[in-house]
C-alpha cells in the first residue's frame, strides 16, 4: 500500500507540471460545457477532443480526456435542475427531485446537493480505483489468450445486455462493429477481406472515423432532421449554489454509501455506465431509502443518489480500462482509442512499463473531481450562458471539428468520406433505435477478440472447451451466460407481471 501511495504522490507531482495541469483545466471546462449543452453528448465531446491530442504527448492527452469524462458527469445536472433539460441521459433522474426542488423555490439547495454528491462520489470512486487497480493488474498478469477472449466476450455481452432497449438491435450493432474491424488486409494470411478491390478499404476501417462519424455527425443529422428545436429558456438570475452542511450531509450517509457502491459496481461491469448507475441508484433509493415514499417530491435523497452513482461510475470504468484494456462505455472506448493512437496498449503490463502515466491518471481523477467542484461552484453562471447559443451554430462547429479531426489523422480526404458515410450510418442507427456504443466497442475490441480466439485455437489445437475448463475463463464465460440470460429472465418476469395485472 505504501508503494501505491508513493507512486500516487509521484502522479500528483506529474499532473501539477504546467502542460499536464493545463490539460486538466481545459478538460474540466470543456467537459462541463459539453455536458451543459443538450445537443452535445459527453461521448461526442470526448470524441471531438481526440484529434487535438495527436500533437500532444500521451500523459496530457489522457488527462484531458479523463478530466472531460469526470466533469461531464456533473455539468448536465445544472440544466436538469434549472431548466428541466437533461444535458445527458444520466441526468434524467435529476429531473424528478432536482427540478422539483428548484421549482419549489430552492434551486440553490438543489444545485448544492448535486455538487456535493458529485464531489463525494468522485472522491470515493477515485480512492476505490487506486485501491483496486493494482490487485486487478496482478491477477490480469496471469491471463492467457483464453482468459482475454472470455473477458472481451463478457464485455461485449454485458454492453449489449445492460444497455437497455432492444437486445437484438444491440447485438446487430455489435456484430456490425466487429465486422468493420475485419475489413482490410488480414495480418496473418495477407488476404484481402471485404475490400472489393478498392484501395480505400485495403487500409481497413479505423475506429476513429466510425466513432467521430456515428457519434458526432450522426447526432447532428438527427437534430437537423428535427429542425434544431431547442426549448426556450427562462432567465438565469436565480442561479447560485448553496452547499449543504456536514450535519445535513451526514443524515444522508446511507444514501451516499448505497449510491457509491452502485456507481462503482456499474462502472466495473462493462456496459453498465453512468446512465444505468444513475437509474439503478435512484431505484435502490426508492426501495431502501428512509424517505422512499417522498421520492419525487423534491427531497435531497433523490438528487444525491443518481448524482453520486453517475460520478462514482467513472473510477469503476477506469479499472478494467487500465488493467485489462477493456473499455466499458463509449467515453472509455475513446480514451482507449487515445492510448492506442499514442502506441500504448493498456493492460496489466502498463503498471510496470508506464507506472508514472497510470498514477498521473489516478491523480488527475482526484484533482479533476476537486476542480469540477470548484468550477461548478464559481463558474455556473457563465457555463449556463452557452445554452443561449443558437443550436444551428453550435452544430456546424461540431461537424467541422469532426471533419477536421478525422482529416488530421492521416491528412487524407478519403477519411472525410468515411466520416460522411458513418455519419449517415449513425443517423440510421438513431432513427431505427440501434445503439451506437456496441458498434464502436465492436470496432475497437474486434481485433483483440479475433486475435485471442485464433491464438487460443492454434495453441490448444482447435479445442474450444478450453474456454470453459480453465478456471478464470470458465468463470467469466459463466458470467457471460448470466449477462445473456438476465434480460431474457427480466422480460419473462415483466410479461408475467403484465398478465397477472391484466388477466
Amino acid at each position: 500500500m505504501l508503494e501505491v501511495l508513493h507512486q500516487l504522490a509521484g502522479g500528483f507531482l506529474h499532473v501539477l507540471t504546467p502542460v499536464n495541469f493545463s490539460a486538466l483545466v481545459v478538460g474540466l471546462v470543456v467537459g462541463m460545457l459539453v455536458a451543459v449543452l443538450p445537443g452535445l453528448t459527453l461521448v461526442m465531446g470526448v470524441v471531438l477532443a481526440l484529434p487535438f491530442t495527436y500533437g500532444m504527448s500521451i500523459t496530457p492527452s489522457i488527462i484531458l480526456l479523463t478530466a472531460m469524462y469526470v466533469s461531464g458527469t456533473y455539468g448536465g445536472a445544472i440544466t436538469s435542475i434549472l431548466f428541466r433539460i437533461p444535458g445527458e441521459p444520466m441526468d434524467v433522474p435529476l429531473l424528478w427531485d432536482g427540478y422539483s426542488m428548484a421549482h419549489a423555490g430552492r434551486p440553490a439547495q438543489a444545485l448544492g446537493w448535486t455538487l456535493f454528491a458529485a464531489l463525494t462520489g468522485g472522491l470515493i470512486t477515485a480512492t476505490i480505483m487506486v485501491t483496486l487497480a493494482v490487485p486487478f493488474a496482478k491477477v490480469a498478469l496471469t491471463f492467457d489468450s483464453p482468459e482475454y477472449f472470455a473477458i472481451v466476450l463478457f464485455g461485449f455481452t454485458s454492453v449489449v445486455a445492460l444497455g437497455g432497449g432492444s437486445m437484438a438491435n444491440a447485438f446487430i450493432s455489435l456484430f456490425f462493429g466487429m465486422l468493420l474491424s475485419t475489413v482490410g488486409v488480414d495480418e496473418i494470411y495477407g488476404v484481402d477481406r471485404f475490400t472489393f478491390g478498392t484501395e480505400i478499404l485495403r487500409d481497413g476501417i479505423g475506429y476513429l472515423p466510425v466513432m467521430v462519424g456515428a457519434y458526432g455527425l450522426g447526432e447532428v443529422l438527427v437534430r437537423l432532421e428535427q429542425g434544431f428545436v431547442s426549448p426556450p429558456l427562462a432567465g438565469d438570475g436565480r442561479i447560485s449554489t448553496r452547499i449543504p452542511s456536514l450535519a445535513e450531509a451526514w443524515k444522508l450517509r446511507g444514501t451516499f454509501a448505497r449510491s457509491s457502491l452502485v456507481g462503482v459496481l456499474c462502472g466495473i461491469v462493462p456496459g453498465a455506465g453512468a446512465t444505468i448507475a444513475s437509474f439503478v441508484a435512484y431505484g435502490v433509493e426508492g426501495q431502501y431509502g428512509k424517505r422512499r415514499n417522498q421520492l419525487g417530491d423534491g427531497i435531497p435523497e433523490g438528487i444525491v443518489a443518481p448524482q453520486v452513482a453517475s460520478t462514482a461510475s467513472v473510477g469503476g470504468h477506469m479499472v478494467p480500462l487500465l488493467t485489462l484494456g477493456i473499455p466499458g462505455s463509449g467515453a472509455t472506448a475513446v480514451i482507449l482509442g487515445a492510448f492506442l493512437l499514442h502506441g500504448v496498449q493498456p493492460g496489466p503490463q502498463i503498471f510496470q512499463t508506464q507506472a508514472l502515466l497510470v498514477y498521473a491518471i489516478f491523480a488527475s481523477v482526484f484533482l479533476g473531481v476537486i476542480g469540477m467542484g470548484l468550477l461548478g461552484y464559481f463558474a455556473i453562471r457563465p457555463l449556463v450562458k452557452v445554452l443561449y447559443l443558437p443550436e444551428a451554430i453550435v452544430s456546424v462547429f461540431v461537424v467541422l471539428f469532426c471533419l477536421i479531426g478525422a482529416y488530421s489523422e492521416h491528412n487524407n480526404v478519403s477519411d472525410l468520406w468515411m466520416i460522411v458515410a458513418f455519419g449517415v450510418v449513425g443517423y440510421l442507427f438513431e432513427r431505427w433505435r440501434f445503439p451506437i456504443a456496441p458498434m464502436v466497442l465492436g470496432c475497437i475490441l474486434g481485433p483483440v477478440a479475433e486475435t485471442s480466439y485464433l491464438t487460443t485455437m492454434i495453441s490448444y489445437r482447435n479445442d474450444w472447451t478450453v474456454f470453459f475448463t480453465r478456471p478464470v475463463s470458465g468463470a467469466v464465460m459463466v458470467l457471460t451466460l448470466i449477462a445473456l440470460l438476465y434480460p431474457v429472465f427480466r422480460g419473462f418476469r415483466r410479461r408475467r407481471h403484465a398478465v397477472l395485472a391484466h388477466p
Binding site: 487535438f52 437484438a168 456484430f175 484481402d192 447532428v220 429542425g227 437509474f279 467541422l400 460522411v420 485464433l454
Partner: protein
C-alpha cells in the same frame, strides 16, 4: 407502408447485407496452413450470428399482434429512458433539411481540394446554419467568416496541420490569408 413492414425494413436490409458478405467471405482467396483457422473463420462466425439475430428478430416482429406495432418495442417497456421519451409528444421531422444537410456535407468534402479550406468552409458554415433555419444574415456571415478563420488559425498555425489550399483562383485567397496569419 404499414408500421409492421416499416419495422421489418432495417432487419431485412441487414439480413441482405449479411448474406451478401457471407458469400464474399466464402470466396476469400488463401492457402490453408494445416489445421489452423483461416482468415474467413472469424468474419463468417460474426456474419452467421448476425443472420441468426436478424431472422429471430424478423420472426418476432411477424408474430407480434398489430396492437404491439403501434406501441413501440416491447424490450423498451421497462426502460426508464424509453418511457420518458414515450411520454413526450412525437417530434416533427423535416426530411428535406436532413437531405440538404447530408448533401452539403458531401459537397463540402468533394470541393475541399478545389476551393481550398477557407472558401469551402465559409460557404459550408453559412449554408448549414441557414439550412438549420437560422435567419439572421449578419450573424451567419460573421460566424462563417470568423469560424473559417478560427479553424484555419487553430489547425494550420497552432496544430501545424496541412489543410487543402485549393486550386487557382481559390489558391490565391488561401495563400494570402496564410501570409497574413504568418503560416508558412
Amino acid at each position: 407502408m404499414s408500421p409492421r413492414y416499416r419495422a421489418l425494413l432495417p432487419y431485412l436490409l441487414v439480413l441482405a447485407g449479411a448474406v451478401a458478405l457471407t458469400w464474399s467471405a466464402l470466396h476469400f482467396e488463401f492457402t490453408p496452413r494445416g489445421d489452423r483457422p483461416g482468415p474467413d473463420v472469424w468474419p463468417r462466425a460474426i456474419l452467421a450470428l448476425m443472420i441468426v439475430t436478424c431472422v429471430l428478430r424478423i420472426g418476432t416482429l411477424l408474430r407480434r399482434r398489430p396492437v404491439d406495432d403501434a406501441g413501440g418495442t416491447e424490450e423498451a417497456a421497462g426502460d426508464a429512458l424509453a418511457e420518458d421519451e414515450r411520454d413526450a409528444a412525437p417530434r416533427k421531422r423535416y426530411p428535406l433539411l436532413l437531405a440538404t444537410g447530408i448533401a452539403l456535407t458531401a459537397a463540402y468534402v468533394a470541393l475541399l481540394g478545389t476551393l481550398g479550406f477557407f472558401v469551402d468552409t465559409v460557404l459550408y458554415i453559412g449554408a448549414l446554419i441557414r439550412t438549420g433555419r437560422y435567419r439572421r444574415w449578419p450573424v451567419i456571415v460573421a460566424v462563417s467568416l470568423g469560424g473559417a478563420l478560427f479553424f484555419m488559425f487553430v489547425f494550420m498555425k497552432v496544430v501545424y496541420l496541412s489543410l487543402p489550399i485549393g486550386t487557382p483562383p481559390f489558391e490565391a485567397i488561401s495563400l494570402a490569408l496564410m501570409q497574413l496569419m504568418g503560416i508558412r
